[in-house]
């Protein structure tokens, strides 16, 4: 016998079709006053809402960030973008980085979580140690890695020392490799973060379920696939969201490791937004790029949310 997720009959038919009584009861009790939300709302409006709305407006102008006189250029900035090889490339890099980080970081994070969730004696120390990189300032770890990955850096020295001298590379200077080196650094820093979230999911699996599967003679692979994986659905949702959105917005590590180079080989949307605004003074164009970034984030996160929450329901039902 196998442990299949327990299916319950649909209960929707039993729910009352009219929701009004619930609302009426909520109104009768005097709830906390609306002005409790005011300070947060004002801060949010001042810092996020109003500037974002203005940003969307500037995306249709040729504003340079200083000159109070600027004109509307319609979709001009977006048309320029399509012809701008750097921008098109940056979108590609951004998506490639986000997808690779999501797959590699979460794959490793899951394996580490399973390892740390086992009976090994070093599990508590390892958990604390492996998560530590995730709290360290990204710009600092990136500078550290910039040196390690240099032509005479520690990574090449180590390869030489263990007899793999043929694998030595200019990890950040080679346009073919640089992007993957950036991905590697991020995975190094955040695999422990994924691990901690998967671990919390694993530890919420009741012990009886493991024991029942064990008694039924399920091997480790079978046990993982049929018992643990469905129960990890919430952890998957959180982890995939965090890593893909983090990957899309990536700035610090690229800035410190390669500055977007060599050439434009590692430029992402975020580094391009920064360069266009602050070194080229093209605010309007830069904000148009930020609008594209916003659209990508919104589409990816709502799409992912819909798919994953359906899976989560499927697994929990």
């Amino acid at each position: 016998m196998t442990i299949a997720p327990h299916k319950e009959p649909p209960v929707r038919a039993a729910a009352p079709p009219d929701r009004r009584p619930v609302i009426a009861r909520g109104r009768r009790r005097a709830g906390p006053p609306w002005w409790f939300a005011l300070p947060a709302m004002l801060l949010f409006a001042f810092v996020v809402l109003v500037p974002s709305a203005r940003g969307v407006y500037y995306a249709f102008t040729d504003w340079d960030g200083l000159d109070p006189h600027f004109s509307l250029v319609g979709l001009g900035n977006f048309a320029t973008m399509l012809g701008d090889a750097d921008a098109v490339q940056a979108v590609g890099h951004t998506l490639l980085i986000a997808v690779s980080i999501t797959i590699i970081q979460n794959g490793l994070g899951l394996l580490l979580a399973l390892g740390v969730n086992s009976a090994i004696k070093s599990r508590n120390v390892l958990r604390v140690f492996l998560f530590a990189p995730a709290v360290v300032t990204p710009i600092v770890t990136a500078y550290l890695w910039r040196n390690l990955l240099g032509p005479d850096g520690a990574v090449n020295s180590l390869l030489g020392a263990v007899g793999l001298g043929g694998w030595r590379q200019d990890w950040l200077g080679d346009p073919e490799l640089a992007l993957w080196s950036v991905v590697g650094v991020i995975v190094w820093q955040y695999a422990g973060y994924s691990m901690v979230i998967f671990l919390a999911g694993l530890q919420s699996v009741p012990r009886e379920i493991y024991e029942a599967a064990d008694l039924d003679g399920a091997g480790p692979v079978r046990r993982f696939w049929s018992v643990i994986r469905p129960l990890l659905a919430p952890a998957f949702t959180v982890n995939l969201m965090l890593s893909i959105i983090g990957g899309i917005k990536l700035f610090d590590q690229v800035y410190a490791l390669t500055g977007g180079g060599p050439g434009h080989a590692t430029d992402t949307l975020s580094t391009l937004i920064y360069k266009d605004a602050f070194t080229l003074g093209e605010f309007g164009y830069s904000i148009a790029l930020a609008v594209v970034l916003t659209i990508i984030v919104a589409v990816v996160s709502s799409g992912q949310y819909l798919v994953l929450s359906r899976n989560e329901k499927g697994a929990a039902a």
Binding site: L43, V47, V48, V136, T137, N147, S157, V196, V238, L242
Partner: protein, 273 residues
């Protein structure tokens, strides 16, 4: 169920090997930070004559003391403001089902989708007009607003799962809503407050893009920007740079190892939010 078998021992060795790989950069970091610049041997060979000179020089040359103080001030004030306004806001947003409440909540949740790059540039202009550019207050204001959506999201999720009997009892006993919040609701929010505190503090402390924009060219720096400036200036002197990196990492790691249980639970707590 969990017995220590031969297979477990193999797993133990494999996990320790992984930890060594993860720890390798840390070894090199410390190894080079204590090495005199004249020593040109391989970066992976243990330093023969360790010295602490790099640290004192980096501390002075990089003006890291001032940067550290700024980072502490910005992080503490921003996080206190965010937690105060968001826990207070979450109370009606989670409890009141009227249309304004739902509308406001959805509007704030919209903020989760907006990357800060979109708001950062127009806000740069506003900060300049207000004369806040180059001061830590620009950052405090920025983080206090930027972190509202995420923090409200955490608090509202937690509050909705909390029974309202205690607050109702407090109100019946004659508490004002503010007293009810202060003495009854807020103490019950402690677990999610810890999560929000940890996640916001780590984010604010580590953020680089915002201070790079709003503090550039001023003498007031936070730690990440001071480090970036230091690297730019001493890029050929990696022993000095590594000493600066160690100095910037130490406070975070000290707090992390002291409070590791709360911090790890804080990060994992997003799972239940």
């Amino acid at each position: 169920m969990k017995r220590y078998r031969l297979r477990t021992f193999g797993l133990e060795l494999a996990m320790i090997a992984v930890a060594l790989v993860v720890g390798f950069p840390v070894y090199v970091l410390i190894n080079l930070a204590v090495r005199a610049p004249s020593d040109a041997s391989s970066p992976i060979r243990p330093t023969t004559a360790p010295t602490l000179d790099n640290f004192s020089e980096a501390w002075e040359q990089g003006r890291l003391g001032g940067a550290l103080a700024n980072s502490v001030v910005v992080t503490v004030i921003s996080v206190v403001i965010v937690l105060a306004v968001c826990s207070l806001a979450a109370y009606p947003l989670a409890r009141v089902t009227a249309r304004w409440s739902r509308g406001m909540f959805l509007l704030i949740m919209l903020g989760l989708l907006l990357p800060f790059q979109l708001a950062a540039l127009p806000l740069y202009q506003t900060m300049r007009d207000l004369g806040l550019l180059g001061t830590p207050w620009a950052l405090v204001l920025f983080y206090s607003g930027l972190q509202v959506p995420f923090t409200v999201f955490l608090y509202v999720g937690f509050l909705r799962a909390l029974p309202r009997d205690f607050e109702d009892a407090a109100l019946i006993d004659g508490c004002t809503p503010l007293q009810g919040f202060r003495y009854v609701v807020f103490p019950m929010l402690k677990p999610v407050t810890v999560t929000a505190l940890v996640l916001n503090a780590v984010f604010v402390w580590n953020d680089f893009f915002t201070p790079l924009l709003y503090l550039s060219g001023s003498a007031q720096q936070t730690m990440p920007v001071a480090i970036a400036g230091f690297v730019g200036q001493y890029v050929s002197d990696w022993n000095l740079v590594f000493a600066a990196l160690v100095i910037s990492i130490l406070p975070i790691l000290a707090v992390y190892f002291a409070l590791q249980r709360s911090i790890i639970n804080g990060f994992a707590g997003g799972l239940r939010g």
